[in-house]
């Protein structure tokens, strides 16, 4: 069983839309620059990848109708949804679901109203209203794997026959609260993040959203839609090592990857690309290199990563990763890892450096890792491989 990704929409520091995003990735451009939205005096970095202003987001989302969210994460999500849903007739349907991953949701409303508010669920509700979805609608949160978990839930809803289509999203707004928290952890880099580079100095935060329309293959065919890519399997695990540091040997990520491969019904030898979580912290990079080595046993598997370009968008990160991977599969091209020049000798991965390279496989593994020891993996392939 599997689900087709039939359309994608994104909003990132590179602006609105997948075309801008993928062009920037191919050029190795980074959207990480000085923070303008709140003061960063006295903090260990002043950088982040900020998405377009609220007015631009609202304008982009106007095609979805009268839903006007009052929080930035929902605005980001609806702007991405407007691209993903362009040209579709959206009749109210109990067979359409919505699952959205986020870590802080409508965080700006914290403390403004009674504690009964569901801040995490606000973006999912906004999207369900805008898309007239009457099937299951909920938010998932699992630290930086939040939207990978959302994709896993969306895949389940399709595979179990509960929904014909599920709008799966990830969204995260850049908040001063989170920025100051990552400063407290001493995790922010004073220069744009350099995943897997020997000179890396931490992560850069970003904000953004992605919406992917998952459909059953039969539903997509019936409506004349050809998949961009196919989601084959999802796996997750907890490593039980630390609240903020990953297990150094990568055992949690390795287990999640094996579970995803089992769910997809494929072996690791059928996977030819690895899309890394790639935050640019030394702990993540070396953990991920260890997991990669254990999983692929020295095979030449092309590695990609996007957080040097988009920053770490936390709950939106995995959805953006999968959106980019779907585009990679569609175009057969792997963008270089932005800001990677010299590989860390202790995090040796066959990463794409400096220039795009051909994707020599029709199947990718997409990895995510988060605080609390949560690890996830998704298996994607080209639709041609399905037949």
């Amino acid at each position: 069983m599997s689900a087709a990704i039939t359309s994608v929409g994104t909003v990132t520091g590179h602006g609105l839309g997948c075309a801008r995003l993928f062009a920037a990735l191919l050029e190795g451009r980074s959207a990480i620059g000085p923070v303008t939205r709140f003061p960063v005096d006295g903090l260990c970095s002043n950088l982040a990848a900020e998405a377009p202003a609220d007015e631009e987001l609202e304008s982009a989302a106007s095609s979805l109708g009268a839903v006007r969210p009052d929080d930035r994460a929902s605005r980001l999500l609806l702007a991405a949804a407007a691209e993903a849903l362009a040209g579709r007739e959206l009749e109210s349907s109990p067979r359409r679901g919505v699952v959205v991953g986020t870590t802080k949701g409508a965080f700006e409303h914290l403390g403004r109203s009674p504690g009964s508010d569901d801040l995490l669920g606000a973006p999912a509700r906004a999207l369900a209203r805008a898309a007239r979805a009457r099937g299951p609608s909920f938010a998932t949160s699992a630290a930086c794997t939040s939207s990978a978990v959302a994709l896993g839930e969306g895949l389940r809803l399709i595979e179990d026959g509960i929904c014909d289509e599920v709008l799966v999203g990830g969204t995260e707004a850049l908040h001063a609260f989170v920025y100051r928290g990552f400063h407290a952890l001493r995790a922010l880099s004073p220069r744009p993040a350099m995943p897997f580079d020997v000179e890396r100095a931490g992560l850069s935060l970003g904000e953004g959203a992605a919406v992917l329309v998952l459909e059953s293959l039969s539903h997509a065919r019936a409506h004349g839609r050809w998949p961009i890519a196919v989601v084959e399997g999802f796996g997750s695990s907890s490593d039980g090592y630390d609240q903020v540091a990953p297990e150094p040997g990568g055992r949690g990520l390795l287990e999640a990857s094996r579970r995803a491969l089992t769910a997809a019904g494929v072996t690791v030898h059928e996977v030819g690309g690895y899309h890394a979580h790639g935050t640019g912290t030394i702990q993540n990079d070396r953990m991920e290199a260890a997991a990669f080595a254990a999983l692929f046993s020295g095979r030449d598997v092309t590695v990609s990563a996007i957080k040097g370009s988009l920053g770490h968008t936390l709950g939106a990160g995995a959805a953006l990763d999968v959106a980019v991977c779907a585009l990679m599969l569609q175009r057969g091209t792997v963008p270089p890892v932005t800001n990677l020049r010299t590989l860390d000798p202790l995090a040796q991965l066959p990463a794409a450096i400096g220039a795009p390279c051909p994707l020599r496989s029709n199947r990718l593994l997409v990895a995510s890792a988060g605080f609390g020891g949560i690890n996830t993996a998704l298996v994607l392939r080209t639709p041609a491989a399905a037949t």
């Binding site: 003061p39 005096d41 006295g42 903090l43 109990p94 919505v98 870590t103 949701g105 965080f107 914290l110 403390g111 504690g115 009964s116 508010d117 569901d118 801040l119 995490l120 669920g121 999912a124 509700r125 369900a128 209203r129 009457r134 099937g135 299951p136 609608s137 909920f138 938010a139 998932t140 949160s141 699992a142 630290a143 978990v149 839930e153 389940r156 595979e159 179990d160 509960i162 001063a176 609260f177 100051r180 928290g181 990552f182 400063h183 407290a184 952890l185 997750s236 695990s237 907890s238 490593d239 039980g240 630390d242 609240q243 287990e255 769910a263 605080f371 609390g372 020891g373 949560i374 996830t376």
Partner: protein, 268 residues
């Protein structure tokens, strides 16, 4: 793969007290009541401060798993997922971190406190303390978040994606509606003499006016009462945001079905 799901152990902790595999303790109170007068679960020492809500979750999970081991043979599956439905998320710790920034300055936030400003941080503590290696996430859909976690957990167990799933509601914000209620779901098997979930559903309709008198706590308590009394019932809830959830519960196989009480709340 089993289309039905067994509820092999459960526990509810509220301001009134703690109940394990029994009907919930009646009463009220702000926050969570003290752990009752019985041998307290032994928590591994981690050498760092852990928020009370995270410690409480670890205690309750340990109680559920140890009770399950004592009651049923064979032991529970080795990989147990943890799925918490939450409307309030990490609100209390978020506010505490904001307060610390206000008092100490933007550049001097507490890193250990910030680490718990995620809705899954308490669940991560369970993984750390008790060695659970399954999937971990929270589910949010307004007042029906706890039921939504049960619906998604039941679907995962039923389809064979999860070996077992601890799921339910976790709402801890220092109010009289605080609750941690968890239900251990496993594939229904003949040797598991346990009540079962035989149906589950989530939906969304923002245009339907709903009755929102029932809180996450009362919904979880109704489910626990139904399980404890060996009843057959539909446990449903909906909320003004438009979310609705429904679980269909039946007694253990071979049990005389007792008349079902009306456990449906809202429009279900």
């Amino acid at each position: 793969m089993s289309p039905e799901v067994a509820v092999t152990s459960w526990a509810v902790w509220s301001g009134a007290g703690v109940s394990v595999n029994e009907a919930p303790v009646p009463g009220s109170g702000r926050g969570l009541a003290p752990w009752p007068d019985r041998p307290a679960p032994i928590l591994p020492a981690r050498g760092r401060p852990v928020p009370p809500s995270a410690s409480a979750l670890v205690q309750l999970v340990q109680a559920i798993l140890s009770t399950r081991r004592a009651r049923v043979v064979p032991p529970p599956p080795t990989t147990v997922d943890l799925k918490l439905g939450t409307r309030t998320g990490s609100r209390e710790i978020d506010l505490a971190f904001l307060q610390s920034l206000a008092e100490r300055g933007d550049a001097f936030g507490s890193p250990s406190l910030f680490a718990y400003t995620l809705s899954t941080a308490a669940g991560g503590e369970v993984s750390l303390a008790l060695g659970l290696r399954g999937a971990l996430s929270t589910v949010s859909s307004g007042e029906v978040s706890g039921l939504a976690a049960l619906v998604t957990g039941a679907a995962s167990v039923s389809s064979g994606r999860s070996e077992a799933c601890l799921c339910g509601a976790m709402e801890v914000s220092g109010s009289d509606s605080d609750v941690i209620a968890l239900f251990l779901l496993e594939p229904a098997q003949p040797y598991l003499h346990a009540p079962r979930l035989v149906g589950w559903k989530l939906s969304f309709d923002p245009e339907t006016v709903t009755d929102s008198r029932d809180s996450p706590r009362s919904t979880m308590e109704r489910l626990a009462v139904t399980l404890a009394h060996g009843e057959s019932a539909e446990i449903g809830a909906s909320c003004p945001g438009g979310h609705a959830a429904l679980l269909t519960v039946v007694p253990a196989a071979g049990t005389t079905v007792r008349p079902g009480r009306s456990a449906r709340v809202g429009r279900g």
